[in-house]
């Protein structure tokens, strides 16, 4: 770590700490203390990535895991275990389990549980025991005899406080606030209030917290895709009750696979229409896993599998009819719409979400701009409800070339008349009939630069050669006004 007066040490391993080195001292001091020092440069991006990965792994305990930022020291993460501690038999056994697993990865950890993130942060750094659970409502007492570094303050505030003789947090608690507010940045009182629970501290989760969540720990790690899909199917079945209760269906899901060695695979799937069908979700996951080949390096297998609904949308319950389906109620149509949504989901999972498209008209006269191909959304199966396609004004080619291609050796009787013969892609076509021109001007209102040339006007002709092939040709530029020698282009092919 570079700093004033040469490089400084940023972090130490246990052996170095035993030799009496201190993090933050200058490298020359450290070298003076021992001659066996091995030094590596700090790589903050790699540290960040590793911390995020670890926080992602920790979502196996609770959905809200928030890695620490720069002002928290960037060497740990918060877990919001409210409501999930009982699944592990209480807070003590949860952190014991977490510590054991981290130790297993080779990461000695200090853990603390408290009512506020600030207090937990302070306890994990400055409490004697590596694992500690603070009883509810005891923050003030626990923090009282801690040094002021426990408040996550910036360097200047810390030095100013020390200079004024404030050594412990207890000296700050229950003092009149006005002098502190006048003398220090707002940070001091905010941090104090956050630690004591007077002000909320929002956590930034590593992944968006799900709406509904279901997680299963496995006794034996699973490796194969079939096993993973079967487990995911059971998890979805667990979620169905909650979804039915709230009258919603899942629009987006996330499958988290927790590997034994601490890595996490996340697979996100989006659906065209809200669903509650476990079979459908399982099939989509199967397709997605096959496409991603995510399980190729399962390592020693997955020890926990979580399925989260990240977006839910209202899905009212439907009456299921007895006996034959009555077409008057549209049950055939609705089941077909459901199957259509399922088909589009399947295609999108296997091929990618932008591979399933449909035509949408765009209000423009330029042929290359006149339509778009947006990905299919929820209303794919009922074309009648969306806006109608504009009625055709002029003949339009069935195939539009990606770029208008120049036609060579174009012969015309008069410079601004229809063509009689042209050469395109190496062959010559004699024109039997030409129809036009259809004049399309450039869209000057799209031209943002005022002094820039506007693109020339195009005169389109529908031409048919002796063999019956039909082309869409245009001449660029109005003869005499915009250009002296007009150029010809082939832009499309008619059926």
């Amino acid at each position: 770590m570079a700093g004033a007066g040469g490089p400084r040490t940023a972090a130490l391993n246990e052996a170095a700490a035993d030799m009496g080195l201190v993090a933050g001292e200058s490298l020359s001091d450290a070298r003076a203390k021992t001659d066996m020092l091995q030094v590596r440069d700090v790589d903050t991006t790699a540290d960040d990535t590793a911390l995020r990965r670890l926080a992602l792994w920790a979502t196996r305990y609770t959905p809200t895991a928030s890695p620490w930022g720069e002002d928290d020291g960037a060497d740990g993460f918060f877990l919001d275990i409210e409501g999930s501690a009982h699944l592990f038999g209480g807070e003590e056994s949860l952190i014991a389990d977490l510590a054991a697993r981290l130790q297993h990865f080779g990461l000695p950890a200090r853990l603390a549980v408290a009512d506020t993130p600030g207090a937990a942060w302070a306890l994990s750094r400055f409490h004697r025991a590596p694992l500690f659970v603070l009883p509810a409502g005891r923050q003030a007492a626990a923090l009282a005899d801690m040094p002021i570094e426990a408040l996550r303050l910036s360097g200047e505030t810390r030095t100013a406080l020390r200079r004024l003789g404030f050594k412990t947090v207890g000296a700050l608690i229950d003092k009149p606030r006005a002098p502190f507010a006048a003398r220090f940045a707002a940070e001091l009182l905010r941090r104090l209030d956050q630690a004591l629970g007077r002000v909320d501290e929002p956590l930034v989760p590593v992944v968006a917290p799900p709406v509904y969540h279901s997680l299963q720990y496995l006794l034996d790690p699973v490796v194969t895709q079939e096993a993973v899909v079967a487990r995911a199917r059971r998890l979805m079945q667990n979620l169905v009750h909650v979804l039915v209760r709230d009258d919603v269906g899942a629009r987006a899901l996330r499958l988290c696979l927790y590997r034994v060695d601490g890595a996490v695979e996340t697979i996100a799937i989006g659906l065209t229409a809200p669903t509650r069908s476990a079979a459908h979700v399982a099939r989509l996951l199967d397709l997605k896993l096959a496409a991603l080949a995510a399980l190729d390096d399962a390592g020693f297998g997955f020890e926990a599998i979580g399925l989260a609904v990240t977006r839910a949308e209202p899905m009212p319950a439907r009456q299921i009819e007895f006996g034959t389906a009555d077409p008057a109620f549209g049950s055939e149509d609705s089941s077909r719409a459901e199957r259509c949504a399922a088909l589009i989901d399947a295609l999108r999972q296997r091929l990618g979400p932008h591979r399933v498209r449909r035509f949408a008209p765009v209000a423009s006269h330029l042929p290359e701009r006149a339509e778009a191909l947006p990905p299919v959304d929820g209303e794919a199966c009922s074309p009648s409800c969306s806006a109608s396609w504009p009625a055709p004004e002029q003949a339009h080619p069935l195939l539009l070339l990606p770029h208008a291609e120049p036609a060579d050796d174009v012969t015309a009787l008069v410079p601004d008349g229809p063509p009689r013969r042209f050469c395109w892609r190496g062959s010559t076509y004699d024109i039997a009939a030409a129809q036009g021109p259809q004049r399309i001007g450039a869209e000057w209102w799209r031209n943002h630069k005022p002094h820039c040339e506007v693109a020339p006007t195009r005169d389109y002709y529908l031409v048919e050669d002796l063999g019956g092939r039909r082309f869409w040709l245009y001449r660029e530029g109005l003869y005499g006004r915009e250009t002296a020698a007009a150029r010809w282009f082939v832009h499309g092919l008619f059926a």
Partner: protein, 259 residues
């Protein structure tokens, strides 16, 4: 037994077909047909039209005739039920040279572009998977695929998949040489001079259709025109170029002699 004339064979075939139809009512139910709506073609095809639940191949006559082949498929699709979507599967590299399908152009042929769901694939395996998936779901009115290479076994699989769900499957094959396939029909489509109104303006597209192979039927050759307003196929009436009409007539005459 003495006279094995073609007439008696044809009669015997009719009797066998009738017997089969009596024995296989389920089979009969699936075998609906999409009529072209013109007697010249429908009477030529064994089912009275294009069979539903079967594979049909459409091949452009020359490389540049791919637009005509597309137009022919779009014309057939526009005659199908309006209520359900149509699935069109094509590899991203498939049409690169000839640009992209235009929604306004489809609309001009009488096919509402909003019914069409375009599926882009990155290789042939994905294309085949997407086609089979669309058929299996039974949702669309028809499935169209763009496939350059197709072996006999795969085509048999696709034909059976189409038969299971009773949907017509059209495969556009922009390939110069074609392998044997299990398709029910194979059409070779080329352009023909368009029908024009009395002012000499382009009115209706015309195509030169060759029915190259047809299961349980004979090959044939026609010049058809398509009316996009009435969604109707008809035989090209008075052909503008007498030379062309004579040529087309020659072909069909020769074919009639051969069969």
């Amino acid at each position: 037994m003495a006279d094995f004339t073609s007439l008696s064979i044809a009669r015997r075939r009719d009797a066998v077909m009738q017997e089969l139809r009596r024995l296989l009512p389920r089979h009969e139910g699936l075998r609906q047909a999409l009529p072209f709506g013109t007697a010249a073609l429908d009477s030529h095809l064994p089912e009275g039209g294009l069979a539903c639940g079967a594979l049909h191949e459409v091949v452009p006559q020359t490389e540049g005739a791919i637009a005509s082949a597309f137009g022919f498929i779009a014309a057939i699709l526009s005659r199908l039920s309006q209520a359900y979507p149509l699935i069109f599967v094509r590899p991203v590299y498939g049409l690169r040279q000839y640009g992209r399908l235009s929604g306004h152009g489809l609309n001009g042929l009488g096919l509402d572009p909003r019914r069409l769901i375009l599926v882009e694939t990155s290789h042939r395996k994905e294309t085949l998977w997407a086609v089979a998936e669309a058929l299996r779901s039974g949702v669309p009115s028809a499935v169209v695929g763009l496939i350059d290479k197709l072996d006999l076994k795969t085509s048999q699989k696709l034909h059976l998949a189409a038969g299971d769900c009773g949907l017509p499957l059209f495969l556009l094959r922009p390939a110069p040489t074609l392998e044997a396939s299990a398709a029910a029909t194979r059409w070779r489509v080329g352009p023909a001079p368009a029908a024009r109104d009395r002012f000499g303006l382009y009115a209706r597209p015309r195509w030169h259709l060759q029915l190259e192979r047809c299961r349980n039927g004979r090959p044939g050759e026609w010049v058809m025109e398509y009316d996009h307003v009435a969604h109707r196929f008809s035989l090209a009436a008075a052909l503008a170029d007498p030379a062309f009409s004579r040529r087309a007539g020659d072909h069909s005459f020769r074919q009639a002699c051969r069969s």
